[in-house]
């Protein structure tokens, strides 16, 4: 029993490939906890960043600078009354958020945080991710239908039509990235996520810059389609409050609505991870071959520690700028404690053994965090697309451009 | 426990096929009849893939073609259903009994 547990520790593969169920469960729990924390942090960041974009402050009261606001939101949502509309189909009403949640979270099985830091490495990894993320359309359709009310039905029809339209362009963009993995000596590509990042490492170029500008155009198509796929601004007509009174999740309140929100944010992080893996080099540090050598490796490996020390510095500046009124004493102490915790994490990340192990995970998470900030930035900046404009962009603009990029990538791959 | 042989998969596929045939022959709702046809196609696919484990990948390629054709057939069948529903407001197969109205 014990050597079943310890036999994995010496191996150099993912737990799924090694067949070790115990360690696979540990990895699943870690990823699940990490995604839940990331969703709460994303919730806070969205409210604060949107507020600062709109020259206001956002939540400031609940914790220092609103840091405990997600916890207050979670408590509020969990204690709300659970209302099911009359004559709504109770079973389908219950199962719709669960389908979206399960579909969004199942994608995390194949996301690689490092060369061996994934739950497993299916050799149809990309196909699996595309397929499972397309199952969330079923949850949306069922949520709209089971609410027995015309606003959710219209919102669900519009939302699901939008999602399946942009899945086509997404799939085409992904295929052109998969084509680039086959440009090695043996001429065989791979669909596995870890294999794609290793192909980028072998060809010594991120697929974003390969066959410039076609890699970039494919990435841009995927980036636009993934925003539409997750029903986020500027493609959020089906769930915008001024349009259809929150669309397919109108009749959901309390904990059920929070499941929808959790599923939506988890889907955002999942498709951003796909984009990072396919085009941005996954866990590879920037400039892996133009800036080589031991000194550059050392410089780049110090960046995680400096990031957390920078965050601690910002928190300390926030502490200094807190009002000196006695009512703010608890908030000041809380923020100072948070700054100290961030500083300790930064200092721990300077220790060489930790520093070497944390590199891959840090670069992957940093790239996904950039995408998350882009999502919030889009929401603050762009006006909403009208639904017919949305469908026109999906079918008449993105799909032809994606097919064109695929053809050009294939031609350049054969010729060059 | 007896090892799982190809016969186990064939028996499952046959059971699915019989269930699909029962659905097609006994239900009145057109949508459920179309879903039973999808069950029949899935049973055939399972048979193909079960045999392809022994005799090469041709079964899997043919299963992919069957899935593609099932998609086309479902689209056309549902289009016919919508066109018919618009005229006669019913989705029952035994009320489709006039050649012209």
């Amino acid at each position: 029993m014990l050597d079943y547990v310890t036999s994995y520790l010496g191996m150099n593969t993912t737990p799924g490939q090694a067949g070790n169920v115990f360690w696979a469960l540990i990895y699943i729990l870690v990823v699940f906890a990490g995604v839940s924390v990331a969703v709460m942090a994303m919730n806070w960041l969205e409210r604060k960043a949107l507020a600062h974009f709109q020259i206001r402050l956002g939540p400031m009261r609940v914790g220092p600078h609103g840091l405990l606001q997600p916890i207050a939101d979670a408590v509020k949502l969990m204690t709300k009354e659970d209302i099911i509309p009359a004559e709504a189909d109770a079973f389908v009403f219950w199962i719709a958020p669960l389908i979206i949640l399960c579909a969004s979270f199942t994608v995390y099985i194949v996301i690689p945080f490092g060369p061996t830091h994934a739950i497993t490495d299916l050799n149809i990894g990309v196909l699996f991710m595309l397929g499972v993320s397309s199952l969330s359309v079923l949850g949306v359709v069922m949520a709209g239908w089971a609410s027995n009310s015309h606003y959710p039905l219209l919102g669900a029809l519009r939302s699901s039509a939008q999602m399946i339209s942009y899945e086509v362009a997404m799939g085409m963009a992904v295929v052109s990235a998969i084509l680039m993995t086959s440009l090695n000596k043996t001429g065989t590509g791979t669909l596995s996520m870890i294999g794609i990042v290793e192909a980028q490492q072998q060809q010594q170029i991120w697929f974003l810059f390969k066959f410039f500008p076609f890699g970039f155009i494919a990435f841009a198509i995927f980036a636009i389609a993934m925003v539409a796929e997750t029903n986020r601004a500027p493609f959020d007509l089906p769930e915008a409050e001024s349009e259809l009174t929150a669309g397919f999740h109108t009749e959901y309140s309390g904990l059920r609505w929070s499941l929808f929100m959790l599923g939506e944010y988890a889907a955002m992080i999942a498709v951003s991870s796909i984009a990072v893996t396919l085009w941005l080099g996954g866990w590879l540090r920037p400039f892996p071959n133009t800036l080589t050598g031991a000194t550059w490796d050392l410089v780049f490996s110090l960046l995680p520690g400096f990031t957390f020390l920078g965050l601690a510095l910002i928190a300390f500046i926030g502490v200094i700028r807190m009002p000196k009124h006695p009512y703010f004493r608890i908030q000041t102490m809380g923020l100072a404690g948070f700054a100290v915790v961030l500083g300790i994490i930064g200092l721990v990340l300077f220790i060489p053994p930790v520093r070497d192990r944390i590199q891959d995970i840090f670069w992957f998470v940093a790239k996904v965090a950039v995408f998350m900030y882009l999502y919030i930035w889009y929401r603050a900046t762009f006006p909403r697309y009208r639904f017919d404009q949305l469908m026109r962009v999906g079918w008449k603009v993105l799909l032809p451009v994606a097919i064109g990029v695929l053809i050009m990538t294939a031609i350049l791959g054969v010729v060059l | 426990m007896i090892p799982i042989t190809t016969l186990h998969y064939l028996v499952t596929a046959a059971a699915l096929f019989v269930l699909g045939v029962i659905g097609v022959l006994t239900r009145r709702n057109v949508v459920i009849v179309l879903m039973s046809i999808e069950l029949i196609l899935n049973a055939v696919n399972l048979n193909l893939v079960a045999f392809s484990r022994i005799w090469g990948l041709h079964g899997q390629v043919f299963a992919i073609f069957v899935i593609t054709d099932a998609a086309a057939e479902a689209a056309v069948g549902l289009g016919i259903l919508i066109a018919f529903f618009r005229n006669k407001e019913t989705v029952n197969v035994d009320e489709v009994d006039l050649l012209k109205w």
Partner: protein, 169 residues
């Protein structure tokens, strides 16, 4: 890596598939039938994985469960079938249908009882690591003509469905 607990997984997945099939043909509400069919399709994708066919399993999830079933649910929602739930569900000749399906099942049982041992069981299972590459080579090499015909078929189906479902103004 040797397969783990194949007996348990096979009985579980095939049980789920057959349960989905039974629920499709017996449920009164078409949306519940569609949900049961989705359950059956996903467990059938699991059966494909057990048969060393990961590409077909992925295609099944994407196309069947994520595409065709969405189409079915759209049409069910548009056709507004609430009042059909209070009507008679099974048609007048349900006994004849059941008996003929039973005869078909008896035929299957007869064929499988007499026919075991006709195909080789000891063949080595195909490699899983390059299943996608080999399926791709077959699809674009030997079956290229069928592939093009299938794409033409899909085009015809799209045009036909649009023409038929359009409102004649």
């Amino acid at each position: 890596m040797a397969p783990v607990a194949t007996g348990f997984f096979f009985y579980f997945l095939s049980g789920l598939t057959l349960l989905g099939g039974i629920l499709v043909i017996t449920q009164k509400n078409p949306v519940h039938s569609a949900l049961a069919l989705i359950l059956g399709l996903l467990s059938q994708a699991g059966l494909y994985l057990m048969l060393y066919a990961p590409f077909v399993a992925g295609v099944q999830i994407i196309l069947y469960a994520g595409g065709i079933m969405v189409l079915f649910l759209f049409v069910i929602m548009l056709v507004s079938i609430e009042r059909t739930q209070r009507e008679e569900q099974f048609n007048k000749l349900w006994l004849v249908g059941l008996l003929s399906a039973g005869a078909l099942g008896a035929l299957f049982v007869l064929v499988y009882a007499k026919g075991t041992g006709l195909f080789p069981e000891g063949a080595a299972p195909p490699a899983e690591s390059n299943n996608t590459q080999q399926v791709g080579q077959l699809l674009y090499g030997q079956y290229m003509f069928s592939f093009e015909i299938a794409s033409l078929l899909l085009l015809v189906a799209i045009i036909g469905a649009v023409v038929m479902a359009k409102r004649r103004t």
